[in-house]
Symmetry: C2
Subunit: 281 residues, 2 copies
Amino acid sequence: MKIVNNIKDLKSCIKLWKDSNCSIGLVPTMGYLHEGHKSLIDRACRENDKVVVSVFVNPTQFGANEDLDKYPRDIKRDSKLCEESGASLIFAPSPDEMYSKNFSTYINVENLTDGLCGSRRPGHFRGVCTVVSKLFNLITPNKAYFGEKDAQQLAVIKHMVEDLNFDVTIVGCPIIREYNGLAKSSRNTYLSKEEKKAALILNCSLGKAKKLLKSGLKDSNDLKSVITNSLRDEPLAKIDYVEIVDSISLKPVKKIENNVLIAIAVFIGKTRLIDNFTWNI
Amino acid sequence: MKIVNNIKDLKSCIKLWKDSNCSIGLVPTMGYLHEGHKSLIDRACRENDKVVVSVFVNPTQFGANEDLDKYPRDIKRDSKLCEESGASLIFAPSPDEMYSKNFSTYINVENLTDGLCGSRRPGHFRGVCTVVSKLFNLITPNKAYFGEKDAQQLAVIKHMVEDLNFDVTIVGCPIIREYNGLAKSSRNTYLSKEEKKAALILNCSLGKAKKLLKSGLKDSNDLKSVITNSLRDEPLAKIDYVEIVDSISLKPVKKIENNVLIAIAVFIGKTRLIDNFTWNI
């Protein structure tokens, strides 16, 4: 497996593969890989001749008061995981390699980014779309893999690909959880032992919601109350949002009559965690 | 030569060419082709195995009070010109084919679009960049050809290609003029006989500026005054802007010490015309 830090070497590699008619899978990540990422890489390896894992903590998707500087990094561990999974190449550029001094081009997906994390993290999806487009143009993948944990990101990227006619298939992969139900996330590393226990409330409250949906509950506000009350039971949890939205448009719904996304963002101490599930009618 | 109106047929064609290792040149146009366009197509035909001319009056680059509806169209004449020039394919989609009902993804090049036409036509370059990106993704050209008459557009597209890592070479081609000096433009068709005569003032005033630069003039304001005064001599002309900017950053300069773009936009009656030249030190 190759580790490449610059665009020139990346492009030579891609050209060789394209000339040999290899299909290419891309797994875009910010590194500090966990079993969630591994599930994406494993699937990419099954479905493509070559697999690129990008490892890049993308500055343009972080807000001024967010955790860009302290975001966890461990390229050695990441390399080991990628190599063991059978990836062909890690692309781990520096910020300067990706963003020249005069960089000024940004991609915005409107509407889909109005709510949920989009409203709490202004500019976040602009940064995500911009860097993902750059990766698409550099790597020309046949398929690109994104986790369903970042449900809004997945919807936004799919929409961007359709709108801008990118020739890539976006594959969403299920959330991977700890044995106790906590959704895997690189940010879990911020949690103290006590906070890690408190963080179980996210999946737990979603579980309660799922039960009620199974029993036929249709009213969004009722469902939101149940989730909200469950989250409030945990003293270390501070709700950022609890939303029930149409799974395609991401617009809030009052009655649950079509497929919906139930998405939550919760601060556990200073760490912001997200979780969700899709309810298919 | 093929004329294709939908994305599916376009993509099949492109795939065939790619599979045979053909190089592809793209000439994006809004149709109503003139000798300026022809010079781009001719050059594209010389430099590529296959040439696509896109003919699309792109709604997203027109402002609410601009000439989208009355923009001249003549696909028959355009086809004849493309065929005679040796183009391989015309891509002439409908607005619905390019923009789905839920379309919401836009590309913005900041800074470079602040001045000149960018400040007079808000959203114009956002529309241009968005549609050009779509064409790049659909057609995957090796080279794309743009006229130097739209100098800001050329600079913006070049910058976008660099920032987003599009794998395409942007080729700028010189302004083509009528025998009397009027820069060729599809919008010249709006001009009455009298206005066409009045429109000569654009190139005429730029000619005066060029003479002064040759004689060693370095002060931007002095040069702007000469152009402005010359334009004011023509009663049918109303100045939109006269600007002297750095040819790379497009930022206004006070002293002419590096390469500069001298760009003007002038209403002749109701028709807005642009013209420019680059002065290389």
